[in-house]
Amino acid sequence: MDYKYIEQLIDRYFEGETTLEEEHILREFFAQGTVPQHLRQWQQLFRSTAELTAAHLDEQFDRRILEIVGETHVTARRITLAQRLRPLFKAAAFVAFAIVIGSAVEHATRTTAPAEPTGDALVQDELDPAETTPLDIRSAEVAEKIDSTKVLKQ
């Protein structure tokens, strides 16, 4: 393999004439496993500078510094339409539940109340008390008449 290009780059590096890109090429070259014998003397220099130019801090540092300055870590999260509408669904479900429970309670109280045993009574609920009283009286009178006819027959 011809290493002329690399040798030229090395010479230019030590002359201080290489660009940042060319210095990157040199670091990449020496980072690989197989370096020819006559170039190995430069390997440690370029590998070391490669390590240092790539040195970085990790997420643990970010967490620590954000905690110190009081900014909590917030990561962007993709939200689906269903997730976005979930509060609305919950509210609708709650309203429906409240209606069902309300109806059930209303129904239960109507069926167990002693003053409202018949359909007539339910109708009377909506009538003026002044109009219901004569009806009750008439009903009582009719019942009395039936009873008296029964007695006469006997």
Binding site: F14, G16, E23, Q41, L52, T53, A55, L57, I65
Partner: protein, 156 residues
Amino acid sequence: MDFRTTILPHRDRLYRLALGITMHTGEAEDVVQETMIRAWERRAEWPMIKNMGGWLALICRNLALDSRKRQAHTAFSLIEAPTDDTGRIEARDTLAYIKRLSAALPPPQDEIFRLRDIEGLSYRDIAQQLAISEDQVRVYLHRARAKIREQIVNKT
């Protein structure tokens, strides 16, 4: 302007800067943390700062130099404490090697070598940072690398 988008993105560059001066990963991390805390304490000034990276680098550089002085005064070893972590051992060896090479360089050659070969700055950025011309940067870098070449050749 919040901390996450204004200050945090500069962390790695500041780390390399601090690492180049302190030659110690733990110290460099502490320097970056202190730099960011100071920047946060002075957040009222952020809107007036035109070059945030340059401002942070200045704070970081001063703190790193202070750290290096403290290390020298306390005879604290620049070579990091032994650890079982393989990555740390490699970093320690790398830093020791680069430190040995740059120790033979007079100022500002050592700083220019560090700015170019560790921080990866352009000639222009180095010139701006040190307030010298780009031609002077090239001359100093040429001398610095010539000395480094000499050290390597003499060693082998």
